[in-house]
Amino acid sequence: MMVRERLRQNISAAFYRHGLLCASYPVPIILFTSASILTCCYPLLKLPLPGTGPVEFTTGVRDYSIPSHESPGDLSERPDWYQGPPVAYIQQVLVKAAVSPWDNSLVPVDVFRSPLGRVFSVLEEIRNHVYTDRSLEALCLQVTDLLPGLRRMQAVLPEHGCLLVSPGNYWQNRRDLFDADPDLLKTVHQHEPKGLHTSATLKDLLFGVPGKQTGVSLYNKKRVVTYTITIALSSYDARFVASLRARLKQLHPSANCTLREDHMVHVHFKEEIGIAELIPLVTTYIILFAYIYFSTRKIDMVKSKWGLALAAVVTVLSSLLMSVGLCTLFGLTPTLNGGEIFPYLVVVIGLENVLVLTKSVVSTPVDLEVKLRIAQGLSNESWSIMKNMATELCIILIGYFTFVPAIQEFCLFAVVGLVSDFFLQMFFFTTVLSIDIRRMELADLNRRLPAEAGMPPPKPGPLRPRETPPPPRPSPHTITLQAPAFRNLRLPKRLRVVYFLARTRLAQRIIMVGTVIWIGILVYTDPAGLRTLLAAQVSEQSPLGEAGLPPHLGVAPVFPGRDPTSTLSVLPAPEPTPLPENQSQGHRAARPEVVPVSSPQITWGPEDEELWRRLSFRHWPALFSYYNITLAKRYISILPVIPVTLHLSPQEAIDTRHPQDTHHAPPPSIKTSDLQADLTLYKVAALGLFAGVVLVLLLFCLYRVLCPRNYGQNGVPHGRRRRGDLPCDEYGYSPPISEISPLLLRGHSMDIECLASDGMLLASCCLARQIRVWDAQTGDCLTVIPNNGLRRSSSSGACEAESLLGADFREPGGGAVGRPDVDIFPIRRRTTPARPALFGDQPDLTPLIDTNFGSLPPSQTLSSSGFDFGGLVEKAYQEHETSPTLAFPPSPPPVLPPELPPQNNGDWDSSVWAMELRGNLIATGRSSGKLELWDAVEGSLRCSNEDGVSGITALAFLNNRIVAARLNGSLDFFTVEITKPLGLLQYRGPPGRGSLPPSPCYSSEDVISCQLTRSVQCAHQKQITVLKAAAGRVVTGSQDHTVRVYRLEDSCCLFTLQGHSGGITAIYIDQTMVLASGGQDGTICVWDVLTGSRVSHVYGHRGDVTSLVCTTSCIISSGLDDLICIWDRSTGIKLYSIQQEVGCGASLGVISESLLVTGGQGCVSFWDLNYGDLLQTVYLGQSSEGQSVRQLLVLDNAAIVCDFGNELSLVYVPSVLEKLD
């Protein structure tokens, strides 16, 4: 254990120092890291690019022997695939034929008809060639049927015999068919694929040269036709091949042909990647990207989310590259398919460390210096990072001992990858993070400056850093609608996706990128076609034409354009069109091909040696695959080509003409055949575009289908988040909680019942009827009312019970003391955490309460009436004006306790049921119906009013008016009058959130009187449960299912709002006249206060709605079902919900637009309203298990106050929460 601890300490210290280093010298470290990445990646340059391109190996022809399987010693230059016999030896006979001299009487068809016609005689020659009783039949590669899917090729490609292909195959190798063919070009083109085809076409296969070079076209300017006869030999007989070569050369001599004949090229083909292989690969990549997406999405609270995500991805990718590079450097050439194992490597290495680091660093206290923050964050996580790393290395080590080569190799890569990833995380990512955090602090600073310079904002800045100008504070009676621009709506995902698409023009970009990639693939896979196309176009456009070659025109002025290496085999006898005399030398130099244009010349150049190189590299695999012979992982040997030159006389050409040829005007459609490659390109582009559009549409449809719009009114529990499984405890990591430390305000002897605050002062009242006034900033206790033990005597022996019971309903008679059955209920309700048993699953409490009632002796109804506060009491508590209300059925009219003689010092024998604090006046409503006004600072009673006899259940204190709701359903309006003109001497600071304008401070000399201005006797049929006042309106909610809106000035009832099917349990109204109400039926209604109409109505909870808060964009409600739901205010759509622990309390508060605070069992939790993520949980005390926070008050100075047994907790929300965006 000791060793472990010491190790841990050392690691932590080392990380701390490292963090300091990284944050201190960011630029040098980044440079160093980049340099090391590049160094490690350098060996990668030697690796062949990934792909399926063939590999070549050249040997000499002379001493060729079939390579043996067991590799001999000289492995120096021999590739490892060069073993065993090849699939086939390819012998090509390259025929170049021309009609010469060209005659003007000839038609364009003559260019290729007779040259093509000669293929049959050459073929005949080859077939019949015999060398010492060996014929071609014996040596050639015998093929059987074509694959069944290739019926259309059956007439063209050979079957059951030698694999010998030539242009003659178009006419079944029969001269008579050729002669009878009226349109050769049509025959050739009819086999061309109609659609997109990037690999070898039939024309390529049969002609053996790229389509452009065949010269079989009406616009062939060179008038030379080139084609090959391709023979596949199964075994190599050097003498036979040599004799064939000699024979052909003798028959058709190619003068001055210097093609080299001593090299044999072996071409090895890699495994072909077909669609079948691609699908799993693509799937793994999709999973990989989803993984990266979901990982990086969690990066939060930083300046640039995207930047960090990019850095994370770069870290992982470059660590992989580094590992491959290092492995190559040390001679471990990867045999695994890199693309295939890559996703798994990424997943093994993972992004977790990076995220944990980020989280840890951003949760360090902001007021520290950046380097210290980085260092501290790093050292916080050092142990877990090292542990994970060690575990992963262990697992990989185990994998290494499986002794399966592939797994061993994978493990080796993974180990190197992990180590380099660790290195990069520590150096690269940490540094990037430090830069990011520094940037953020700078931005914060800039942002805060103007706010501080201006007037003190109504809602003091620190908590709402990014908020655009705070909504103008209207005077109480004017209504300003929120401009939609101010809304920071949390839109439904669907809309956000659409907006995102629209904003970034993602679809267009994806389509563009897709097209580019498609074209890139095309270029890559079919280089021959495109390149020749481009070359042809260039040469056509170039004014120099073909004659970039001849620099020495002066030497051979008659035959310009002759290359010294490529000599004319046969000189076309005389110049048919001699050079005009008047042509200048310079002109000739500029357009040298003017002369040879009319006289086709056959030249042999080094480019003809390996003409097959210009074919698509799929050429050979395609040819063999037609016969179900795969070349994957095998090789073929290509023998040196046999050149054959054919010269035909014009007469011969004329003789072989088909009668139709002369009438055959060059059809305009031929033009298109020339442009075919162009068209293919366009087709490809169009297809790519189309595919992109279809893909996007498909995804969109899928999205719509699978994410139907089913949330909203009948909300499926949509985004449920359990408190237990929160983003913070993945990887067993939870942010340090030390930064928020609650300030405990001790002093009350019993549970706190009422809480009130105006921002500066905080008043609390406990069961012992003691009112304490605290300074909301410092937590000092300013006043205690009363400060003597006087009340103890009057409430006789009830003290014992009082501490346990809900003393707010305890009557002075002390009748409750001796009766155990009465004690039971309150105990269950108050002091045990057994609240869930009562309230968790039971939506309606009335039956329960009824039975309680029945069990009581009738004579006791009077005193026991106070015990029947059901869940409503709980609900009422979390509002900042406590309004204990009675939930008992209408049965017994609540008769109030005998009046006690009024005392000067206040009424100490009736409990405080409601309390309000405004300015320095505390208004208390007592169970005796008495309304008292206390001076908060001096603790003296300023005035009292005893007009009512029914207990005051709720109070609202607005300007100089006090509204009191009484137990009997009546509503009293009081006016506070000050004899000395009301001195607006000073403001006590900004007013309570969302409620009142600043109220004046009453000086102690003033005589304050409180007069009943109006009493509405039957405000509601049943008792009033909720009373709220704001914006000149008083809103009451009652058990009689209605909400009433009164005007404050004249106490006139404006509206009676009906819409709930249960008693009203929660009401929210604020300065902007947003009115929302929640009832026992679990519904939430939003009302328009101006017209009294219902704006929206949602079914929110199973069970009572216990509290309601609105922000500018959403409504937050909590219910007895322990669910906190967040609704979109404008649409009434449920955005998501948070599942709380059972019995977690229903207290809610909104600190800023995006910060929600909820009370729980001994803790308060902060939530990000935009995403529903738990930000932090603050535990209020050590021994806090049983206590739950019942009331929660948000003060203006970024503090929250909550009651907590007999203590108050003042929690300052630290500025780290500012970083919420």
């Binding site: 669609i275 699908i279 529990p717």
Partner: protein
Amino acid sequence: MPRLEEHCWSCSCSPSVKTQELSSASWIVCKTGEMMSIITSVLRHAYGSMHSLQSANLMRRGLVLFIVGVVLALVLNLLQIQRNVTLFPEEVLDTLFSSAWWIPLCCGTAAAVVGLLYPCLDHHLGEPHKFKREWASVMRCIAVFVGINHASAKLDFANNVQLSLTLAALSLGLWWTFDRSRSGFGLGLTTAFLATLIAQLLVYNGIYQYTSPDFLYVRSWLPCIFFSGGVTVGNIGRQLAMGSTEKPHND
């Protein structure tokens, strides 16, 4: 309900099944009928016992899981077929889609059932699964599962025992890395056992066969694949049940 599950299991077939001969059409018809009846009974059960809202959610989850199962089955089947793949992708796709059309469906159904069972079991046992509940981890899990399949299909092992042992270790590692719950382990084992049993029965009846069976009629690594598949699908199911906002429909 147990009987119902039994039926469902009987549909659950390996993603790695190679069909080489199709049985008579009547068998398929019978199988389809059975499947449909199961689906309808599941639906009825779902509708009958639960709140309508909940069942809509359940349906959605089930649908997503079904799609995931089908896609995984197709992809992994392709991986298995790939070893003796020809150069003609059309051919492969033909065999893939024609011969074993019911395999993806069965796998989808099985995935839906397992994926719904996991959270249900968690709920009943009262131990909610809290370990690494996030989509990134689920994606990692799926990737590892595909990797295990990849390994079983692609790697050359000295013998089958070694292959099976390696895969078993990998599967256990998967469970330990992503699940670590008793219920997950138990359900995974049950899945593996039942599915292997079904596969054995199917092969015994000649529905299809393996190229080189070494564990009675099937390959010995099959249970490992089933186990890790069960854990993976369970992971997805739990994540869905947690009701995170969306499911990426791309795997």
